[in-house]
Amino acid sequence: MSPKMTHLRQLEAESIHIIREVAAEFENPVMLYSVGKDSAVMLHLARKAFYPARPPFPLMHVDTTWKFREMIEFRDKMAHECGFDLLVHVNEEGVRQGIGPFSHGSGIHTDIMKTEGLKQALTKYKFDAAFGGARRDEEKSRAKERIFSFRTEDHRWDPKSQRPELWNVYNAKVHPGESIRAFPISNWTELDVWQYIYLEQIPIVPLYYAAVRPVVERDGMLIMVDDARMEIKPGEKVEYKSVRFRTLGCYPLTGAVESTAATLPEIIQEMLLTRTSERQGRAIDHDSAGSMEKKKQEGYF
């Protein structure tokens, strides 16, 4: 009797299988790198999949220009250290129009700088497959997402006509212009991701660890004052609190949680004892019921 593979080793092997399958089947794949912890795991798995070679695809970051500064520093450092080619795409049209979360709200900002930006980038580079770090446990509409998720020529997802996905045999056929979003860590949960980061000692953005940071309480969320673009409204005050982030995105849209968890075990401990799910810190999900499903049909990851 051979030793049983633990759940993390099984998940790891499944993800590597998916990553290799995409690399082998598609002409021009790309790995979308959001700089968050899920991306960190995905990048680590990609390195494992092709070791000792470098992964045969570039990393791409769709930068909304509103990411935390530490995310950008970390992104450049990781891409350099891991030997990836890094493509950074910014929706210049959105920049020209001055789109931002403070002036336009989370909906318009996310739509133009993230969703549109992503579509622009995919069209510009003619990628026929794009890896994403989404997990099925994140949100209800993701529970039905395929691992190889088909996208039409205009990058739309049709939840009604998904291809059946059986065993570990993935249909990678697309017509020119169409593409696949591939989700290698579909079957991981938030806890799995943290345990794996701990086990494999994967570097993550320091924002996940608690530290004293300047924050303002706004609409029930603690928003970090990451740069001068954030105006302090009358009645608001900047406080220095020990906070950390459970999820990372655009800083004006990402709520911090008060915490003293400064090490990985402490983060996992806090996560296990906490009573709110991680997406709660994202302003985007609160908009309306089924909002994620709508966004995905439009091409949001």
Binding site: T6, K48, P159, P164, N168
Partner: protein
């Protein structure tokens, strides 16, 4: 969460250590909406405390708005993902749920109970190790129970939980429970399950989900969670012969050549001999390379990179196997095929078959019989419609390596892809090769003109283009061929001149051309012949021997021969009118 809260808060490092040994179980739940399936899964998530406060708040408000449980919490709402389903109160696709306890991580494939049932259930069950089959205690065993059980057995699930639900509505009657179980056992005897565990449940009330219910003191067996946490699913693939399909050849430089893949079964060590069935070549494993260092051993389920002692020709889709027990390598096999698409199977048509990393054009050459999923009866059939299952013969354009699905789930399964739409249209489980060790590939023995024509998606024709002017007729014929080619049709062009027989042997020429025409029609092709119109002999001979449906002729002068038309326009007109 149902984790050791004390250990988490007191000694997180010890807790993390204990979690490293956790195993994983994938299971499928089968049943219809009415059986309370979504409620059951919602309960498992709920009772294992995988529901967070913000989700709870949403659940409470949703329960009031669209729930079916009055003031109570409707656990099913935790699951229904897509907006349309929420409004209609039905689940329409396969969804995956996750929860974990201290002992195991669970992945649940949740499939709907009615429409598209076969397709969705086969999809969800393809990766499952255990099937939880729900039965409404009031209704007992229904047709759909048989169907669920049969489909579970079909995709190779060996462990079944008979979840007899809604016991609260039959007063927790042991008699009722026993009689359902007895009936089920006699029905399922032929399905080849290793074990059947029946559990009396009330998903709504939470009886026997996590802890034993005081209302069923007569039940000696485990609760559902106890069963799921402890069921031993011996990793059947670990003790089997070594198989690995090569996904990717890793060549960072001239000194390194690694073969990447996931081990489908068995295990491998450096020094072990392997064979590549496609070439019959043997060599030994030199290293098992990973980013964390070389391994002394790798087992089924691991994704590894192997380097070999000798440079032999291996590419993606090839299988590496132990020479002691070699997989089949053939281009024809018999398989159970489940049809997954609205457009029915067309026997003889060319599909793309994908088995692991191996891909080849394939056609279904024969449907031996169809299987009725409700009665298990064998029925005759010419085609397979959506959700139908048949035992079929498949012919591939080149051989692949495989095992029977019964022997080896990982190397015995495949999908079929429509070559035009790229849709996944079929899922197959291989029985056995049809011509043992046939290395010849595509076998035409049972193929007729109809199958060949269907495969090419065209009606075969012999088209005669007549004109005195040789240059003119050749030009038009060429243009017609190009036009057909660009439309994806398969054609071939001949000029009278190229049939250069002895001068004067008109009869011989006519006979030869007619015979050629017959061959082209049988091959499913379009033959374009350019002829001199002064030679009625040839076209008459063709007319006499070929059936009128597949023969047509055009006189460039008489039929469409206005001088104003360019050869390009004439060609376009011919193609438009005739095809």
């Amino acid at each position: 969460m149902a984790h050791q809260s004390e250990l988490i808060s007191e000694d997180i490092l010890a807790y993390l250590k204990s979690q490293e040994e956790k195993s994983m179980l994938r299971f499928i739940t089968c049943g219809s909406v009415d059986d309370g399936k979504s409620t059951l899964i919602g309960r498992l998530l709920w009772d294992s405390k995988m529901v967070f406060e913000d989700q709870l708040a949403a659940l409470e408000s949703d329960s009031k708005r669209v729930g079916t449980q009055g003031e109570k919490i409707d656990y099913a709402l935790l699951l229904d993902g897509l907006q349309a389903e929420r409004e209609q109160g039905i689940t329409i696709d396969v969804a995956y749920r996750f929860f974990s306890t201290d002992k195991r991580k669970f992945i649940v494939a949740d499939t709907p109970g009615h429409e598209q049932y076969t397709r969705n259930m086969v999809t969800g069950a393809s990766t499952a190790q255990v099937a939880v089959i729900l039965i409404d205690a009031r209704k007992g065993i229904l047709t759909q129970t048989r169907r669920h059980s049969y489909l579970a057995s079909l995709v190779g699930i060996r462990h079944v939980v008979l979840a007899i639900n809604k016991m609260d509505l039959v007063d927790y009657s042991q008699e009722r429970f026993d009689s359902i179980l007895k009936k089920y056992q006699s029905f399922a005897a032929s399905l080849g399950f290793d074990d059947i565990t029946a559990i009396p449940l009330s998903a709504l009330e939470g009886d026997n989900i996590i802890s034993p219910s005081p209302k069923t003191p007569w039940h000696q067996g485990p609760t559902l969670m106890q069963y799921l946490e402890t069921v031993q699913v011996p990793d059947a693939s670990a003790g089997k012969p070594f198989r690995m399909r090569v996904q990717w050849v890793n060549r960072p430089n001239l000194d390194f050549r690694g073969f990447c893949g996931t081990i489908a079964s068995g295990q491998i060590h450096p020094g072990d001999e392997i064979i590549v069935p496609s070439s019959g070549k043997k060599t030994r494993v030199a290293r098992i390379v990973t980013m964390d260092g070389d391994l002394e051993r790798a087992v089924a389920g691991q994704a590894v990179t192997l380097t070999l002692e000798d440079e032999i020709d291996i590419s993606r889709g090839d299988t590496l196997a132990t020479p002691e027990d070699v997989p089949h390598h053939a281009a024809r096999f018999e398989a159970k095929l489940v049809w997954l698409h609205e457009e029915a199977l067309t026997p003889g048509r060319s599909y793309l078959l994908k088995a692991g990393s191996a891909t080849a054009p394939a056609q279904v050459s024969q449907i031996k019989f169809k299987l009725n999923v409700n009665t298990l009866a064998q029925e005759p059939g010419e085609t397979l419609a959506l959700n139908e299952i048949g035992v079929c013969s498949l012919s591939l354009s080149k051989p692949i390596s495989f095992d029977s699905y019964r022997e080896n789930r990982g190397t015995g399964c495949f999908i079929l892809i429509d070559r035009l739409t790229n849709a996944t249209v079929g899922a197959g489980m291989i029985h056995q090769p049809l011509l043992q060790s046939s290395g010849k590939g595509w076998i035409e023995a049972d193929l007729g003109p109809k199958a060949r024509a269907e495969q090419k998606g065209q009606s075969p024709k012999v088209l005669c283009i007549a004109s005195q002017d040789q240059k003119h007729r050749t030009e038009v014929a060429e243009l017609v061929e190009k036009k057909l080619h660009s439309q994806g049709r398969h054609s071939y062009r001949l000029d009278q001149q190229s049939l250069s027989l002895e001068p004067g042997s008109k009869d011989e020429q006519a006979r030869l051309l007619a015979a050629l025409g017959e061959h082209f029609l049988a091959a499913g092709l379009i033959l374009i012949v350019s002829l001199s119109d002064q030679d009625p002999h040839l076209s008459d001979a063709l007319m006499g021997r070929l059936n009128t449906e597949s023969f047509c002729q055009v006189d460039l002068k008489k039929d469409i021969g206005t001088i104003s038309l360019s050869p390009q326009q004439q060609a376009e007109q011919i193609v438009e009118e005739l095809f």
